[in-house]
Amino acid sequence: MMRHRHPALVPALAIITASVAILSLGLGPVSIPVGRIMAVLTGHGDAIDRAILIDLRLPRMLIGLLVGAMLGLAGAVLQGYLRNPLAEPSVLGASNAAALGAVGALYFGIAQWHIAMLPIMAIAGALVALGALFFLAGESESPLTLILAGIAVSTLALACISLALNLSPNPFAAMEIMAWLLGSIENRSFEHVWIVLPCVAIGMALLLYDGRALDALSLGEDGARSLGVDLPRLRLRLLLGVAIGVGGAVAVSGSIGFIGLIVPHLMRPLTDRSPSAILLPSMLGGALLLTASDMLVRIIPSTNELKLGVVTAFLGVPVFLAHLLRERRLW
Protein backbone atom coordinates (compact mmCIF):
# COMPACT_ATOMS: atom_id res chain seq x y z
CA MET A 1 0.00 0.00 0.00
CA MET A 2 0.98 3.62 -0.43
CA ARG A 3 3.77 2.44 -2.73
CA HIS A 4 4.34 5.13 -5.27
CA ARG A 5 5.42 3.96 -8.64
CA HIS A 6 8.20 6.52 -8.37
CA PRO A 7 9.25 6.75 -4.74
CA ALA A 8 11.18 9.99 -5.33
CA LEU A 9 8.20 11.75 -6.95
CA VAL A 10 7.29 14.03 -4.07
CA PRO A 11 10.87 15.07 -3.18
CA ALA A 12 11.69 15.60 -6.86
CA LEU A 13 8.60 17.75 -7.40
CA ALA A 14 9.40 19.74 -4.28
CA ILE A 15 12.95 20.45 -5.48
CA ILE A 16 11.84 21.39 -9.00
CA THR A 17 9.08 23.64 -7.66
CA ALA A 18 11.45 25.38 -5.25
CA SER A 19 14.03 25.91 -8.02
CA VAL A 20 11.50 27.30 -10.47
CA ALA A 21 10.09 29.56 -7.75
CA ILE A 22 13.55 30.99 -7.00
CA LEU A 23 14.22 31.45 -10.73
CA SER A 24 10.92 33.29 -11.06
CA LEU A 25 12.21 35.90 -8.63
CA GLY A 26 14.76 36.93 -11.23
CA LEU A 27 12.14 37.74 -13.84
CA GLY A 28 10.70 41.18 -14.29
CA PRO A 29 11.44 44.62 -15.68
CA VAL A 30 14.75 44.50 -13.77
CA SER A 31 16.45 41.19 -14.39
CA ILE A 32 18.29 39.85 -11.35
CA PRO A 33 20.67 36.91 -11.78
CA VAL A 34 20.46 33.85 -9.53
CA GLY A 35 23.65 34.74 -7.63
CA ARG A 36 22.17 38.04 -6.48
CA ILE A 37 18.85 36.35 -5.61
CA MET A 38 20.65 33.87 -3.40
CA ALA A 39 22.60 36.70 -1.79
CA VAL A 40 19.36 38.50 -0.87
CA LEU A 41 17.68 35.29 0.33
CA THR A 42 20.61 34.50 2.60
CA GLY A 43 20.49 37.98 4.09
CA HIS A 44 23.14 39.78 2.03
CA GLY A 45 22.80 41.65 -1.24
CA ASP A 46 22.20 45.35 -1.86
CA ALA A 47 19.19 47.35 -0.75
CA ILE A 48 17.65 47.85 -4.20
CA ASP A 49 17.80 44.16 -5.00
CA ARG A 50 16.28 43.43 -1.62
CA ALA A 51 13.45 45.93 -2.10
CA ILE A 52 12.59 44.51 -5.53
CA LEU A 53 12.84 40.89 -4.47
CA ILE A 54 11.35 40.93 -0.98
CA ASP A 55 8.70 43.61 -1.34
CA LEU A 56 7.64 43.13 -4.96
CA ARG A 57 8.49 39.70 -6.28
CA LEU A 58 8.49 37.47 -3.21
CA PRO A 59 4.77 38.07 -2.41
CA ARG A 60 3.90 37.30 -6.01
CA MET A 61 5.94 34.11 -5.93
CA LEU A 62 4.44 32.99 -2.61
CA ILE A 63 0.90 33.68 -3.79
CA GLY A 64 1.59 31.71 -6.97
CA LEU A 65 2.83 28.74 -4.96
CA LEU A 66 -0.02 28.84 -2.45
CA VAL A 67 -2.82 29.33 -4.96
CA GLY A 68 -1.41 26.72 -7.35
CA ALA A 69 -0.95 24.18 -4.56
CA MET A 70 -4.48 24.79 -3.29
CA LEU A 71 -6.07 24.43 -6.74
CA GLY A 72 -4.06 21.29 -7.54
CA LEU A 73 -4.96 19.67 -4.22
CA ALA A 74 -8.64 20.66 -4.45
CA GLY A 75 -8.82 19.16 -7.94
CA ALA A 76 -7.23 15.91 -6.80
CA VAL A 77 -9.55 15.65 -3.80
CA LEU A 78 -12.69 16.42 -5.80
CA GLN A 79 -11.77 13.91 -8.51
CA GLY A 80 -11.30 11.29 -5.80
CA TYR A 81 -14.48 12.20 -3.96
CA LEU A 82 -16.68 12.32 -7.04
CA ARG A 83 -14.86 9.41 -8.68
CA ASN A 84 -14.87 11.50 -11.79
CA PRO A 85 -11.80 12.61 -13.72
CA LEU A 86 -13.64 15.78 -14.84
CA ALA A 87 -14.11 17.23 -11.39
CA GLU A 88 -12.26 20.35 -10.27
CA PRO A 89 -13.13 23.39 -8.17
CA SER A 90 -14.42 25.39 -11.13
CA VAL A 91 -16.54 22.54 -12.50
CA LEU A 92 -18.32 22.45 -9.14
CA GLY A 93 -18.82 26.21 -9.27
CA ALA A 94 -16.55 26.92 -6.29
CA SER A 95 -14.12 29.13 -8.22
CA ASN A 96 -16.74 31.14 -10.07
CA ALA A 97 -18.87 31.56 -6.96
CA ALA A 98 -15.83 32.75 -5.01
CA ALA A 99 -15.04 35.17 -7.83
CA LEU A 100 -18.67 36.34 -7.72
CA GLY A 101 -18.32 36.92 -3.98
CA ALA A 102 -15.21 39.01 -4.62
CA VAL A 103 -16.84 40.90 -7.48
CA GLY A 104 -19.88 41.54 -5.29
CA ALA A 105 -17.60 42.93 -2.59
CA LEU A 106 -16.07 45.30 -5.15
CA TYR A 107 -19.32 46.21 -6.89
CA PHE A 108 -21.22 47.12 -3.73
CA GLY A 109 -18.20 48.76 -2.12
CA ILE A 110 -18.10 46.22 0.70
CA ALA A 111 -14.42 45.64 -0.05
CA GLN A 112 -13.64 49.13 1.21
CA TRP A 113 -14.97 48.47 4.72
CA HIS A 114 -12.06 46.29 5.69
CA ILE A 115 -9.23 44.47 3.96
CA ALA A 116 -10.65 41.13 5.16
CA MET A 117 -14.07 41.73 3.57
CA LEU A 118 -13.08 40.68 0.07
CA PRO A 119 -11.67 37.26 1.04
CA ILE A 120 -14.58 36.72 3.43
CA MET A 121 -17.03 37.44 0.62
CA ALA A 122 -15.09 35.11 -1.70
CA ILE A 123 -15.16 32.30 0.85
CA ALA A 124 -18.83 32.98 1.54
CA GLY A 125 -19.49 32.78 -2.20
CA ALA A 126 -17.76 29.40 -2.44
CA LEU A 127 -19.52 28.12 0.69
CA VAL A 128 -22.96 29.17 -0.53
CA ALA A 129 -22.30 27.58 -3.93
CA LEU A 130 -21.02 24.28 -2.56
CA GLY A 131 -23.70 24.22 0.13
CA ALA A 132 -26.41 24.78 -2.49
CA LEU A 133 -24.76 22.12 -4.61
CA PHE A 134 -24.86 19.43 -1.97
CA PHE A 135 -28.40 20.46 -1.10
CA LEU A 136 -29.48 20.30 -4.75
CA ALA A 137 -27.81 16.95 -5.27
CA GLY A 138 -29.69 15.74 -2.23
CA GLU A 139 -29.11 12.64 -0.22
CA SER A 140 -28.14 10.53 -3.20
CA GLU A 141 -24.62 11.95 -3.32
CA SER A 142 -24.49 10.60 -6.83
CA PRO A 143 -21.34 12.02 -8.40
CA LEU A 144 -23.07 12.77 -11.69
CA THR A 145 -25.87 14.76 -10.01
CA LEU A 146 -23.27 16.79 -8.13
CA ILE A 147 -21.35 17.59 -11.29
CA LEU A 148 -24.47 18.55 -13.23
CA ALA A 149 -25.67 20.73 -10.36
CA GLY A 150 -22.14 22.17 -10.19
CA ILE A 151 -22.25 23.21 -13.83
CA ALA A 152 -25.58 24.93 -13.16
CA VAL A 153 -24.20 26.79 -10.13
CA SER A 154 -21.03 27.69 -12.04
CA THR A 155 -22.97 29.04 -15.00
CA LEU A 156 -25.23 31.08 -12.76
CA ALA A 157 -22.24 32.60 -10.94
CA LEU A 158 -20.62 33.43 -14.28
CA ALA A 159 -23.84 35.06 -15.49
CA CYS A 160 -23.98 37.18 -12.33
CA ILE A 161 -20.37 38.30 -12.83
CA SER A 162 -21.17 39.23 -16.43
CA LEU A 163 -24.18 41.16 -15.18
CA ALA A 164 -21.93 43.08 -12.79
CA LEU A 165 -19.63 43.72 -15.76
CA ASN A 166 -22.53 45.09 -17.83
CA LEU A 167 -23.79 47.29 -15.03
CA SER A 168 -20.38 48.49 -13.90
CA PRO A 169 -20.29 52.26 -13.67
CA ASN A 170 -17.02 52.83 -15.56
CA PRO A 171 -14.50 50.96 -17.72
CA PHE A 172 -11.96 50.79 -14.87
CA ALA A 173 -14.41 48.92 -12.67
CA ALA A 174 -15.12 46.63 -15.61
CA MET A 175 -11.40 45.96 -16.05
CA GLU A 176 -11.07 45.11 -12.39
CA ILE A 177 -14.01 42.70 -12.58
CA MET A 178 -12.51 41.09 -15.70
CA ALA A 179 -9.37 40.34 -13.70
CA TRP A 180 -11.44 38.14 -11.38
CA LEU A 181 -12.63 36.06 -14.27
CA LEU A 182 -9.24 35.35 -15.79
CA GLY A 183 -7.00 35.48 -12.76
CA SER A 184 -3.84 37.42 -12.13
CA ILE A 185 -1.27 37.70 -9.37
CA GLU A 186 0.57 40.81 -10.54
CA ASN A 187 1.20 43.67 -8.12
CA ARG A 188 0.52 41.63 -5.00
CA SER A 189 1.94 42.58 -1.63
CA PHE A 190 2.53 40.76 1.63
CA GLU A 191 -0.92 41.90 2.73
CA HIS A 192 -2.31 39.51 0.10
CA VAL A 193 -0.01 36.74 1.31
CA TRP A 194 -1.42 37.10 4.82
CA ILE A 195 -4.95 36.81 3.39
CA VAL A 196 -4.32 33.69 1.36
CA LEU A 197 -1.96 31.87 3.73
CA PRO A 198 -4.39 31.04 6.56
CA CYS A 199 -7.18 30.13 4.14
CA VAL A 200 -4.96 27.80 2.16
CA ALA A 201 -3.46 26.29 5.34
CA ILE A 202 -6.93 25.49 6.71
CA GLY A 203 -8.14 24.23 3.34
CA MET A 204 -5.14 21.98 2.87
CA ALA A 205 -5.33 20.56 6.39
CA LEU A 206 -9.01 19.69 5.88
CA LEU A 207 -8.42 18.13 2.47
CA LEU A 208 -5.22 16.20 3.22
CA TYR A 209 -6.92 14.55 6.20
CA ASP A 210 -9.24 12.42 4.07
CA GLY A 211 -6.89 10.61 1.70
CA ARG A 212 -7.79 7.21 3.07
CA ALA A 213 -11.52 7.87 2.90
CA LEU A 214 -11.07 8.86 -0.76
CA ASP A 215 -9.29 5.55 -1.39
CA ALA A 216 -12.25 3.73 0.19
CA LEU A 217 -14.60 5.60 -2.17
CA SER A 218 -12.90 3.79 -5.07
CA LEU A 219 -15.31 1.01 -4.07
CA GLY A 220 -18.38 3.25 -4.25
CA GLU A 221 -20.42 4.66 -1.39
CA ASP A 222 -21.59 1.39 0.14
CA GLY A 223 -18.08 0.02 -0.20
CA ALA A 224 -16.62 3.05 1.56
CA ARG A 225 -19.21 3.01 4.34
CA SER A 226 -18.64 -0.68 4.94
CA LEU A 227 -14.96 0.18 5.39
CA GLY A 228 -15.87 2.54 8.23
CA VAL A 229 -15.96 5.85 6.33
CA ASP A 230 -18.35 8.40 7.84
CA LEU A 231 -19.61 9.90 4.57
CA PRO A 232 -21.56 12.90 5.97
CA ARG A 233 -18.49 14.05 7.94
CA LEU A 234 -16.23 13.47 4.97
CA ARG A 235 -18.54 15.62 2.87
CA LEU A 236 -18.58 18.38 5.48
CA ARG A 237 -14.76 18.48 5.77
CA LEU A 238 -14.48 18.50 2.02
CA LEU A 239 -17.04 21.26 1.57
CA LEU A 240 -15.32 23.46 4.14
CA GLY A 241 -11.84 22.62 2.86
CA VAL A 242 -12.64 23.50 -0.76
CA ALA A 243 -14.70 26.57 0.14
CA ILE A 244 -12.15 28.08 2.53
CA GLY A 245 -9.08 27.07 0.56
CA VAL A 246 -10.29 27.86 -2.94
CA GLY A 247 -12.32 30.84 -1.70
CA GLY A 248 -9.20 32.33 -0.06
CA ALA A 249 -7.08 31.58 -3.12
CA VAL A 250 -9.58 33.12 -5.55
CA ALA A 251 -9.83 36.17 -3.27
CA VAL A 252 -6.25 37.13 -4.13
CA SER A 253 -5.75 35.63 -7.58
CA GLY A 254 -9.16 35.59 -9.23
CA SER A 255 -10.57 32.47 -10.81
CA ILE A 256 -7.74 30.48 -12.41
CA GLY A 257 -9.03 27.52 -14.36
CA PHE A 258 -7.61 24.21 -15.52
CA ILE A 259 -4.98 23.70 -12.81
CA GLY A 260 -7.31 21.66 -10.62
CA LEU A 261 -8.39 19.61 -13.63
CA ILE A 262 -5.07 19.04 -15.36
CA VAL A 263 -2.55 18.54 -12.58
CA PRO A 264 -4.13 15.43 -10.99
CA HIS A 265 -4.26 13.82 -14.46
CA LEU A 266 -0.60 14.53 -15.05
CA MET A 267 0.36 13.16 -11.64
CA ARG A 268 -1.80 10.04 -11.62
CA PRO A 269 0.34 7.88 -13.96
CA LEU A 270 3.38 8.65 -11.80
CA THR A 271 1.67 7.13 -8.73
CA ASP A 272 -0.20 3.92 -7.95
CA ARG A 273 -3.34 5.78 -9.14
CA SER A 274 -5.12 5.64 -5.81
CA PRO A 275 -6.79 8.93 -4.85
CA SER A 276 -4.64 9.38 -1.73
CA ALA A 277 -1.39 8.93 -3.64
CA ILE A 278 -2.04 11.88 -5.96
CA LEU A 279 -2.84 14.44 -3.23
CA LEU A 280 0.70 15.61 -2.38
CA PRO A 281 2.01 15.38 -5.96
CA SER A 282 -1.00 17.38 -7.21
CA MET A 283 -0.39 20.02 -4.56
CA LEU A 284 3.25 20.41 -5.63
CA GLY A 285 2.40 20.08 -9.32
CA GLY A 286 -0.22 22.81 -9.02
CA ALA A 287 2.29 25.12 -7.36
CA LEU A 288 4.79 24.33 -10.12
CA LEU A 289 2.35 24.85 -13.00
CA LEU A 290 1.05 28.14 -11.65
CA THR A 291 4.54 29.48 -10.93
CA ALA A 292 5.72 28.48 -14.41
CA SER A 293 2.63 30.09 -15.97
CA ASP A 294 3.25 33.26 -14.03
CA MET A 295 6.82 33.32 -15.38
CA LEU A 296 5.44 33.05 -18.92
CA VAL A 297 3.09 35.95 -18.19
CA ARG A 298 6.14 38.05 -17.50
CA ILE A 299 8.30 36.74 -20.37
CA ILE A 300 5.78 37.04 -23.21
CA PRO A 301 6.02 40.61 -24.49
CA SER A 302 2.69 42.40 -24.56
CA THR A 303 1.41 45.85 -23.74
CA ASN A 304 -0.88 44.59 -21.01
CA GLU A 305 0.35 41.66 -18.96
CA LEU A 306 -1.49 38.53 -20.04
CA LYS A 307 -4.00 37.13 -17.60
CA LEU A 308 -2.82 34.08 -15.69
CA GLY A 309 -5.91 31.98 -16.38
CA VAL A 310 -5.28 32.41 -20.12
CA VAL A 311 -1.70 31.19 -19.81
CA THR A 312 -2.54 28.19 -17.57
CA ALA A 313 -5.06 27.16 -20.22
CA PHE A 314 -2.60 27.63 -23.11
CA LEU A 315 0.12 25.80 -21.24
CA GLY A 316 -1.94 23.11 -19.64
CA VAL A 317 -4.47 22.12 -22.27
CA PRO A 318 -2.02 20.79 -24.93
CA VAL A 319 -0.15 18.76 -22.31
CA PHE A 320 -3.48 17.56 -20.98
CA LEU A 321 -4.75 16.52 -24.42
CA ALA A 322 -1.53 14.72 -25.33
CA HIS A 323 -1.71 12.91 -22.03
CA LEU A 324 -5.38 12.08 -22.51
CA LEU A 325 -4.78 10.51 -25.92
CA ARG A 326 -2.04 8.34 -24.47
CA GLU A 327 -4.01 7.32 -21.40
CA ARG A 328 -7.55 6.99 -22.66
CA ARG A 329 -7.55 3.21 -22.71
CA LEU A 330 -7.54 3.19 -18.94
CA TRP A 331 -10.88 4.96 -18.58
Binding site: S218, L219, D222, R225, S226, L330
Partner: protein, 269 residues
Protein backbone atom coordinates in the same frame (compact mmCIF):
# COMPACT_ATOMS: atom_id res chain seq x y z
CA UNK B 1 -16.99 -14.77 17.47
CA UNK B 2 -19.60 -12.43 16.13
CA UNK B 3 -23.32 -12.96 15.97
CA UNK B 4 -26.14 -10.87 14.59
CA UNK B 5 -29.62 -10.65 16.00
CA UNK B 6 -32.46 -9.13 14.00
CA UNK B 7 -35.91 -8.47 15.45
CA UNK B 8 -39.01 -7.04 13.81
CA UNK B 9 -36.99 -5.36 11.06
CA UNK B 10 -39.05 -3.30 8.60
CA UNK B 11 -37.72 -1.06 5.85
CA UNK B 12 -39.73 1.30 3.66
CA UNK B 13 -38.17 2.83 0.57
CA UNK B 14 -40.05 5.48 -1.35
CA UNK B 15 -43.28 4.67 0.53
CA UNK B 16 -43.07 0.99 -0.38
CA UNK B 17 -42.50 -1.71 2.23
CA UNK B 18 -39.37 -3.60 1.17
CA UNK B 19 -38.83 -5.55 4.39
CA UNK B 20 -41.65 -6.53 6.72
CA UNK B 21 -41.11 -7.69 10.25
CA UNK B 22 -38.04 -9.83 9.62
CA UNK B 23 -36.47 -11.66 12.58
CA UNK B 24 -33.47 -13.98 12.65
CA UNK B 25 -30.46 -15.00 14.67
CA UNK B 26 -27.21 -15.41 12.75
CA UNK B 27 -24.40 -17.34 14.43
CA UNK B 28 -20.87 -18.09 13.24
CA UNK B 29 -19.48 -21.45 12.16
CA UNK B 30 -22.03 -22.29 9.49
CA UNK B 31 -22.37 -20.98 5.94
CA UNK B 32 -25.68 -19.12 5.82
CA UNK B 33 -27.34 -18.60 2.45
CA UNK B 34 -30.02 -16.01 1.74
CA UNK B 35 -32.21 -17.00 -1.21
CA UNK B 36 -35.38 -15.70 -2.80
CA UNK B 37 -36.64 -14.26 -6.08
CA UNK B 38 -35.63 -10.85 -7.45
CA UNK B 39 -37.09 -8.07 -5.36
CA UNK B 40 -37.60 -10.32 -2.32
CA UNK B 41 -35.61 -7.90 -0.16
CA UNK B 42 -32.37 -9.88 0.16
CA UNK B 43 -29.99 -7.01 -0.54
CA UNK B 44 -32.11 -4.63 1.52
CA UNK B 45 -31.92 -7.05 4.44
CA UNK B 46 -28.14 -7.19 4.13
CA UNK B 47 -27.74 -3.43 3.85
CA UNK B 48 -30.06 -2.71 6.78
CA UNK B 49 -28.25 -5.35 8.81
CA UNK B 50 -24.93 -3.59 8.23
CA UNK B 51 -26.25 -0.13 9.06
CA UNK B 52 -26.00 1.04 5.42
CA UNK B 53 -29.73 1.68 5.18
CA UNK B 54 -31.91 3.35 7.80
CA UNK B 55 -34.79 1.17 8.95
CA UNK B 56 -38.17 2.30 10.23
CA UNK B 57 -38.93 -0.36 12.81
CA UNK B 58 -37.12 -3.17 14.53
CA UNK B 59 -33.71 -3.79 15.91
CA UNK B 60 -30.41 -5.12 14.62
CA UNK B 61 -27.72 -5.95 17.16
CA UNK B 62 -24.21 -7.18 16.49
CA UNK B 63 -22.79 -8.94 19.54
CA UNK B 64 -25.44 -7.22 21.65
CA UNK B 65 -24.70 -3.72 20.32
CA UNK B 66 -27.33 -1.86 18.31
CA UNK B 67 -26.05 -1.28 14.76
CA UNK B 68 -27.16 2.34 14.70
CA UNK B 69 -25.17 3.10 17.84
CA UNK B 70 -21.92 1.53 16.63
CA UNK B 71 -19.12 3.73 15.29
CA UNK B 72 -18.76 3.11 11.53
CA UNK B 73 -15.18 2.00 12.03
CA UNK B 74 -16.05 -0.58 14.72
CA UNK B 75 -18.81 -1.95 12.54
CA UNK B 76 -16.39 -2.18 9.62
CA UNK B 77 -13.88 -4.09 11.73
CA UNK B 78 -16.56 -6.52 12.95
CA UNK B 79 -18.14 -7.41 9.61
CA UNK B 80 -16.66 -7.21 6.11
CA UNK B 81 -19.13 -6.59 3.29
CA UNK B 82 -18.86 -7.24 -0.42
CA UNK B 83 -21.74 -5.48 -2.23
CA UNK B 84 -23.51 -6.88 -5.25
CA UNK B 85 -21.68 -5.96 -8.46
CA UNK B 86 -18.81 -4.23 -6.65
CA UNK B 87 -17.42 -1.45 -8.82
CA UNK B 88 -13.90 -0.06 -8.86
CA UNK B 89 -13.58 3.56 -9.92
CA UNK B 90 -9.81 3.86 -10.37
CA UNK B 91 -7.41 1.45 -12.10
CA UNK B 92 -5.62 0.33 -8.94
CA UNK B 93 -3.24 -2.59 -8.77
CA UNK B 94 -4.68 -5.78 -7.31
CA UNK B 95 -2.46 -5.52 -4.25
CA UNK B 96 -3.50 -1.92 -3.63
CA UNK B 97 -7.17 -2.86 -4.01
CA UNK B 98 -6.91 -5.74 -1.54
CA UNK B 99 -5.09 -3.33 0.77
CA UNK B 100 -8.23 -1.14 0.91
CA UNK B 101 -9.59 -3.83 3.24
CA UNK B 102 -7.17 -2.60 5.89
CA UNK B 103 -8.66 0.91 5.98
CA UNK B 104 -10.83 0.32 9.08
CA UNK B 105 -7.62 -0.43 10.98
CA UNK B 106 -5.74 2.65 9.84
CA UNK B 107 -5.92 6.20 11.14
CA UNK B 108 -6.38 8.99 8.60
CA UNK B 109 -2.67 9.70 8.30
CA UNK B 110 -1.03 6.52 9.61
CA UNK B 111 0.88 4.15 7.39
CA UNK B 112 0.06 0.45 7.08
CA UNK B 113 2.28 -1.67 9.33
CA UNK B 114 3.63 -5.22 9.31
CA UNK B 115 0.32 -6.56 10.61
CA UNK B 116 -1.58 -4.99 7.70
CA UNK B 117 1.00 -6.32 5.25
CA UNK B 118 0.53 -9.80 6.70
CA UNK B 119 -3.28 -9.60 6.52
CA UNK B 120 -3.11 -8.52 2.86
CA UNK B 121 -0.74 -11.36 1.92
CA UNK B 122 -2.87 -13.89 3.78
CA UNK B 123 -6.09 -12.68 2.16
CA UNK B 124 -4.52 -12.89 -1.31
CA UNK B 125 -3.29 -16.38 -0.48
CA UNK B 126 -6.70 -17.54 0.75
CA UNK B 127 -8.43 -16.19 -2.35
CA UNK B 128 -5.68 -17.68 -4.51
CA UNK B 129 -4.77 -14.44 -6.25
CA UNK B 130 -1.14 -14.00 -5.13
CA UNK B 131 -0.06 -14.32 -8.77
CA UNK B 132 -2.26 -11.34 -9.75
CA UNK B 133 -0.75 -8.93 -7.21
CA UNK B 134 0.78 -6.54 -9.75
CA UNK B 135 -2.00 -6.63 -12.31
CA UNK B 136 -4.37 -3.71 -12.79
CA UNK B 137 -7.65 -4.65 -11.14
CA UNK B 138 -9.84 -3.04 -13.81
CA UNK B 139 -8.25 -5.22 -16.51
CA UNK B 140 -8.98 -8.60 -14.93
CA UNK B 141 -11.43 -11.22 -16.18
CA UNK B 142 -14.74 -11.60 -14.34
CA UNK B 143 -13.56 -14.64 -12.41
CA UNK B 144 -10.32 -13.00 -11.36
CA UNK B 145 -12.13 -9.84 -10.37
CA UNK B 146 -14.60 -11.77 -8.18
CA UNK B 147 -11.76 -13.43 -6.27
CA UNK B 148 -9.85 -10.16 -5.94
CA UNK B 149 -12.92 -8.47 -4.49
CA UNK B 150 -13.36 -11.37 -2.07
CA UNK B 151 -9.72 -11.03 -1.04
CA UNK B 152 -10.40 -7.34 -0.39
CA UNK B 153 -13.21 -8.33 1.97
CA UNK B 154 -11.05 -11.02 3.64
CA UNK B 155 -8.22 -8.53 4.20
CA UNK B 156 -10.43 -6.66 6.66
CA UNK B 157 -9.76 -9.56 9.03
CA UNK B 158 -13.31 -9.29 10.36
CA UNK B 159 -15.04 -12.11 12.20
CA UNK B 160 -18.06 -11.68 9.99
CA UNK B 161 -18.29 -11.73 6.20
CA UNK B 162 -21.39 -10.72 4.24
CA UNK B 163 -21.34 -11.26 0.49
CA UNK B 164 -24.10 -10.21 -1.90
CA UNK B 165 -24.41 -12.38 -5.03
CA UNK B 166 -20.75 -13.27 -5.50
CA UNK B 167 -21.51 -15.81 -8.25
CA UNK B 168 -23.12 -13.47 -10.79
CA UNK B 169 -21.33 -13.74 -14.16
CA UNK B 170 -18.92 -16.46 -13.01
CA UNK B 171 -18.35 -19.69 -14.92
CA UNK B 172 -19.11 -22.96 -13.05
CA UNK B 173 -15.48 -23.55 -12.06
CA UNK B 174 -15.12 -20.11 -10.51
CA UNK B 175 -18.52 -20.47 -8.85
CA UNK B 176 -17.21 -23.58 -7.09
CA UNK B 177 -13.98 -21.76 -6.12
CA UNK B 178 -15.92 -18.91 -4.54
CA UNK B 179 -18.37 -21.16 -2.68
CA UNK B 180 -15.56 -23.34 -1.33
CA UNK B 181 -13.73 -20.26 -0.17
CA UNK B 182 -16.82 -19.03 1.68
CA UNK B 183 -17.49 -22.48 3.19
CA UNK B 184 -13.87 -22.61 4.38
CA UNK B 185 -14.22 -19.23 6.06
CA UNK B 186 -17.35 -20.47 7.85
CA UNK B 187 -15.54 -23.64 9.02
CA UNK B 188 -12.79 -21.42 10.43
CA UNK B 189 -15.38 -19.97 12.77
CA UNK B 190 -16.42 -16.83 10.89
CA UNK B 191 -19.99 -15.65 10.49
CA UNK B 192 -20.56 -15.96 6.74
CA UNK B 193 -23.76 -14.80 5.07
CA UNK B 194 -24.09 -15.10 1.29
CA UNK B 195 -26.92 -14.01 -1.00
CA UNK B 196 -27.39 -16.55 -3.78
CA UNK B 197 -29.55 -17.17 -6.83
CA UNK B 198 -28.12 -20.56 -7.76
CA UNK B 199 -30.19 -23.01 -5.72
CA UNK B 200 -27.92 -25.98 -6.43
CA UNK B 201 -24.95 -24.06 -5.08
CA UNK B 202 -27.04 -23.00 -2.10
CA UNK B 203 -28.08 -26.60 -1.46
CA UNK B 204 -24.58 -27.94 -1.86
CA UNK B 205 -22.53 -25.48 0.21
CA UNK B 206 -24.84 -23.79 2.69
CA UNK B 207 -25.50 -25.26 6.12
CA UNK B 208 -28.53 -23.07 6.61
CA UNK B 209 -30.82 -21.26 4.18
CA UNK B 210 -33.01 -18.22 4.73
CA UNK B 211 -35.78 -17.99 2.14
CA UNK B 212 -37.12 -14.48 1.51
CA UNK B 213 -40.22 -13.52 -0.44
CA UNK B 214 -41.96 -10.14 -0.79
CA UNK B 215 -40.00 -8.64 2.07
CA UNK B 216 -40.66 -11.44 4.51
CA UNK B 217 -38.53 -14.26 5.82
CA UNK B 218 -40.74 -17.21 5.01
CA UNK B 219 -38.50 -20.15 5.86
CA UNK B 220 -35.32 -20.73 7.82
CA UNK B 221 -33.64 -24.14 8.04
CA UNK B 222 -31.36 -26.68 6.41
CA UNK B 223 -31.37 -26.92 2.60
CA UNK B 224 -33.41 -30.15 2.83
CA UNK B 225 -36.07 -28.35 4.87
CA UNK B 226 -36.19 -25.30 2.64
CA UNK B 227 -35.84 -26.57 -0.90
CA UNK B 228 -39.14 -28.37 -1.52
CA UNK B 229 -41.38 -28.52 -4.58
CA UNK B 230 -44.12 -26.60 -2.75
CA UNK B 231 -41.79 -23.72 -1.91
CA UNK B 232 -40.32 -23.53 -5.42
CA UNK B 233 -43.86 -23.19 -6.74
CA UNK B 234 -45.07 -20.78 -4.10
CA UNK B 235 -42.03 -18.50 -3.99
CA UNK B 236 -40.30 -18.71 -7.37
CA UNK B 237 -43.35 -19.75 -9.39
CA UNK B 238 -41.44 -22.63 -10.92
CA UNK B 239 -41.37 -26.36 -10.85
CA UNK B 240 -38.02 -28.04 -10.67
CA UNK B 241 -36.05 -31.20 -10.34
CA UNK B 242 -34.85 -31.51 -6.73
CA UNK B 243 -32.37 -34.14 -5.59
CA UNK B 244 -30.78 -33.43 -2.24
CA UNK B 245 -29.67 -36.97 -1.46
CA UNK B 246 -26.16 -37.31 -2.91
CA UNK B 247 -22.86 -35.50 -2.35
CA UNK B 248 -23.80 -32.98 -4.97
CA UNK B 249 -27.38 -31.91 -4.28
CA UNK B 250 -29.19 -30.46 -7.26
CA UNK B 251 -32.04 -28.08 -7.81
CA UNK B 252 -32.75 -27.66 -11.50
CA UNK B 253 -35.53 -25.24 -12.45
CA UNK B 254 -37.70 -26.89 -15.10
CA UNK B 255 -40.68 -24.72 -15.96
CA UNK B 256 -42.84 -21.82 -14.89
CA UNK B 257 -45.60 -22.86 -12.51
CA UNK B 258 -48.51 -22.85 -12.94
CA UNK B 259 -47.93 -23.44 -16.63
CA UNK B 260 -51.00 -23.11 -18.80
CA UNK B 261 -51.86 -26.37 -20.57
CA UNK B 262 -48.67 -28.18 -19.55
CA UNK B 263 -49.27 -29.24 -15.94
CA UNK B 264 -48.25 -32.81 -16.55
CA UNK B 265 -44.84 -31.72 -17.80
CA UNK B 266 -44.22 -29.74 -14.63
CA UNK B 267 -45.48 -32.59 -12.46
CA UNK B 268 -42.80 -34.81 -13.91
CA UNK B 269 -40.21 -32.75 -12.03
Amino acid sequence: MVSISIEGLSVDLGGRAILRDVAMQLAPGALIGVIGPNGAGKSTLIRAMLGLLPFQRGQVTIDGQAVGAMAPRDLAKAIAYLPQGQVLHWPLSVERLVGLGRLPHLGPLSRPGAQDREAIDEAMCRADIASLADRTATELSGGERARVMLARALAVGARGLVVDEPLASLDPGHQIDVMELLAREARRGALVVVVLHDLSMAARYCDRLLLMDEGRLIADGTPAQILTQDRLRAVYGISGHIDLTGDAPMVVPMARWPQVGAEQQADAG
